[in-house]
């Protein structure tokens, strides 16, 4: 067809109109194309309304639907194997999607890369991956948010609300993204309560409700009075905490309505920002951005509104740090920083801003975390 650089909206329509399969397109897509719009595909690894990871993405998809000239198609519960390759291909071939949002981390290598190479004129935006120049195809993008900023703020709120100074963290697997959240939460809590500790339980998988409930109960049994988590659906952890009269901090999306008494705040994604960036770029015929990242300041992540139990003092402490983050003046990971075995992981005087590549490979738990990787 045509090369990527000249891939403008007009060319796209021409190409699409030339495709013999156009007659097979559903009427809605045909209308969108005729109106000069574009089709956008979303692929989720789990159920769209899981109160967590997938819901956060689906909310952004719902927001995109409202943009003029944008038609959204979705597929949920697509496993990270040939199934997702075929779903991406089908969106590109059958639905003429201009961009496919592949929202699960496990989609990237090899699936997104393989399909992108096969369809150089299509675009795939992947959530979480590390696109790098020269190594990965130009029609692939990766986007992600620095949600550890929200975890740090949650840690502050938790640290100033907790009576025991013990926090529980239910996590799926000890991978860098998860460790970074655990560490940021703990650092936030210890910035206001130096004796605070976080106990971690890894469940081994992203969605295991019974195991998550067992983990939450074990943590509460150990005297933890604030629970948070990094699993796909935080519903079980938040509800368990609420039932046993403990506090909770949410993740991915807001779980506030699940725990009206104990929900303190939470770290939420706001994927509308990056998703709109990609769609606008394609609509306006601008170059496709390959590496899109941001934190609170850029509007990629946001905090759940504070719960009723959060004190004025805690709100203020968190808001102060948030204001610095919004100005880009706050660094979470800076030396001297020790891990929980006493080893220095960041020497004094050194600090890693959010973009630092060192943070992407985090393989330690900071001092104050009880557990090992």
């Amino acid at each position: 067809m045509q090369d990527r650089a000249s891939f403008s909206r007009r060319n796209f329509i021409k190409a699409a109109a030339a495709a013999p399969a156009l007659g097979l397109l559903p009427a809605s897509v045909r209308d969108a194309l005729a109106a000069g719009g574009i089709t956008v595909g979303f692929i989720y690894v789990g159920a769209r309304d899981d109160f967590g990871y997938n819901q956060a993405h689906a909310q952004a998809a719902a927001a995109l639907k409202k943009l003029p000239g944008v038609k959204v198609i979705e597929e949920e519960k697509v496993p990270e194997t040939v199934a997702v390759q075929k779903s991406m291909e089908a969106m590109i071939v059958q639905d003429k999607a201009a961009v496919v949002f592949a929202t699960s981390f496990g989609y990237f290598d090899p699936h997104v890369l393989k399909v992108a190479q096969k369809y150089p004129n299509a675009h795939i935006a992947h959530c979480g991956g590390l696109w790098s120049e020269g190594k990965h195809p130009k029609n692939v993008a990766s986007y992600f948010g620095y949600i550890d900023e929200c975890e740090y703020l949650s840690g502050i709120v938790a640290g100033l609300t907790s009576k025991t100074g013990k926090f529980g963290f239910v996590a799926a697997k000890p991978i860098p993204q998860v460790l970074r959240n655990i560490n940021a939460f703990t650092l936030g809590a210890r910035s206001v309560n130096p004796n605070a500790t976080t106990r971690v339980i890894f469940t081994g998988d992203w969605a295991m409700p019974v195991k998550e409930a067992e983990a939450a109960n074990s943590l509460l049994d150990q005297g933890c009075d604030v629970l948070t988590c990094h699993v796909d659906g935080p519903k079980v952890v938040v509800e368990t905490a609420e039932r046993r009269g403990a506090f909770s901090c949410g993740y991915h999306a807001s779980q506030a309505k699940l725990a009206p008494k104990g929900y303190l705040t939470g770290a939420e994604w706001d994927w509308v920002t990056p998703n709109t960036t990609f769609v606008k770029a394609l609509q306006e015929g601008k170059p496709f951005p390959n590496f899109v990242r941001g934190g609170l300041k850029e509007g990629f992540v946001k905090m759940s509104p504070y719960g009723a139990v959060v004190s004025e003092k805690a709100r203020k402490a968190a808001d102060d740090v948030k204001a610095k983050m919004l100005k880009g003046e706050f660094v979470i990971f800076k030396g001297p920083l020790k891990d929980n075995t006493g080893k220095e992981v960041i020497p004094a005087g050194k600090s890693f801003a959010q973009q630092a590549i060192e943070l992407e490979g985090m393989n330690y738990l900071v001092e104050g975390v009880i557990g090992s990787v």
């Binding site: 199934a83 089908a90 071939v93 981390f105 090899p110 979480g128 697997k173 081994g204």
Partner: protein, 365 residues
């Protein structure tokens, strides 16, 4: 579809699955209509997604490829009278074994690498399910429960090794073993967008069928599976046969795991466990433990998977729609067995029992 030639009226029997599909589609249409969708549109979309064009067909076949092998993993031990439900674990073990074998062989000629991976994967899967057969023969542990337990243990071990000793340090957020070099990946079949795993599965299914149907060993298996006591009295070595068929079944699932590593993922990681092993149980029973019939059964499930994708995108129907379709379809398929060879069966020529593991209670009496 069914390939038991001893039947007097194979045509009618062969038509049964087709009739079942028609009835199931009617029931499914009713369900869809009750849910407020237009049945015709839904059925057309299903057909278009699975078999409507070249893309649909290849989508279907690609999904079917591992299912043929996991179906054989259940069907073969069943011929010796065992109900094995641990295919998922054997697949996990096979993938782990294959990935582990690839580590010291990085840079070796592709053929050597693939053979070593395949052997290692088959060995790993074979040992797991073979162990289940051995526990049954030597310790009297029921193989259905032991294979299920072993499956959970195998998956845990796979995860442990992938995130521990065998982890590629560069696999940050998706713990995996060391990846194969891109040129060491198994490619597609010529002219198709389907990897060679499909051909491997087809060859295995045909080989198993020929073995069971035309060799003296196949006859032995029938005797062992039909009546182990009589077989033992006739001087047949029942235990080696039982353990051997379990091991071969496990090896099939292990091979499926190896293919997932070498043709799809490039490494062993948790993403390759998506229930192919569980689907194999269903496939084997639909195929009535006949290795050849495993092929269309696997294609049917692959096709429904492909159709589910299009249903979600075109009609905004939930992913579970195809689960409902599968459920209805397989319930009808299995219930229709009651018509097989019924009125038109010549009594003296009763067909050999294919799956002695599973006679209806009335027949056992």
């Amino acid at each position: 579809m069914s390939a038991a030639p001893a039947r007097p009226r194979p045509l009618i029997d062969a038509l049964l699955p087709l009739a079942a599909i028609v009835i199931a589609l009617m029931l499914f249409s009713l369900f869809v209509a009750l849910e407020g969708q237009a049945p015709q549109e839904v059925l057309e979309t299903i057909f278009a997604g699975a078999f409507g064009d070249a893309f649909g067909w290849q989508n279907t076949l690609l999904r079917a490829a591992p299912l043929i092998l996991t179906g054989l993993a259940v069907a073969l031990p069943a011929r010796a009278g065992l109900v094995i439900i641990g295919g998922e674990g054997a697949l996990a073990f096979g993938a782990l074994g294959a990935a582990a074998a690839a580590v010291p062989l990085a840079g070796a000629p592709n053929l050597v690498l693939w053979l070593a991976m395949a052997l290692s994967g088959m060995l790993a899967g074979g040992v797991l399910i073979g162990f289940s057969g051995a526990l049954r023969q030597w310790r009297g542990v029921n193989e259905t429960i032991s294979s299920l337990l072993l499956s959970y243990i195998a998956v845990a071990l796979m995860n442990h090794f992938v995130e521990g000793p065998l982890r590629d340090p560069a696999s940050l957020n998706k713990p995996s073993t060391l990846p194969l070099a891109p040129e060491a990946m198994l490619g597609n079949l010529p002219g198709l967008d389907v990897h060679v795993g499909l051909a491997v599965g087809l060859v295995c299914a045909v080989l198993a069928w020929v073995f069971l149907r035309f060799t003296i060993w196949g006859f032995t298996v029938r005797v062992v599976g039909g009546n182990p006591r009589a077989a033992a009295m006739a001087g047949l070595a029942v235990t080696p046969w039982v353990i051997g068929l379990c091991a071969v079944g496990g090896a099939m699932a292990g091979l499926a795991g190896m293919l997932e590593v070498a043709a799809v993922h490039g490494s062993c990681n948790a993403s390759l466990l998506v229930g192919y092993g569980h689907a194999g149980i269903l496939i084997a029973f639909i195929a009535r433990q006949n290795p050849l019939a495993v092929i269309p059964a696997a294609i049917l499930i692959g096709g429904i998977g492909a159709a589910g994708s299009l249903l979600q995108r075109r009609l905004d129907m939930p992913d579970a729609t195809v689960l409902v379709l599968q459920g209805i379809l397989f319930v009808v398929l299995i219930a229709m067995e009651t018509l097989r060879g019924r009125a038109w069966r010549i009594p003296q020529l009763s067909a050999p029992r294919l799956a002695k593991a599973t006679p209806a209670p009335e027949e056992a009496a």
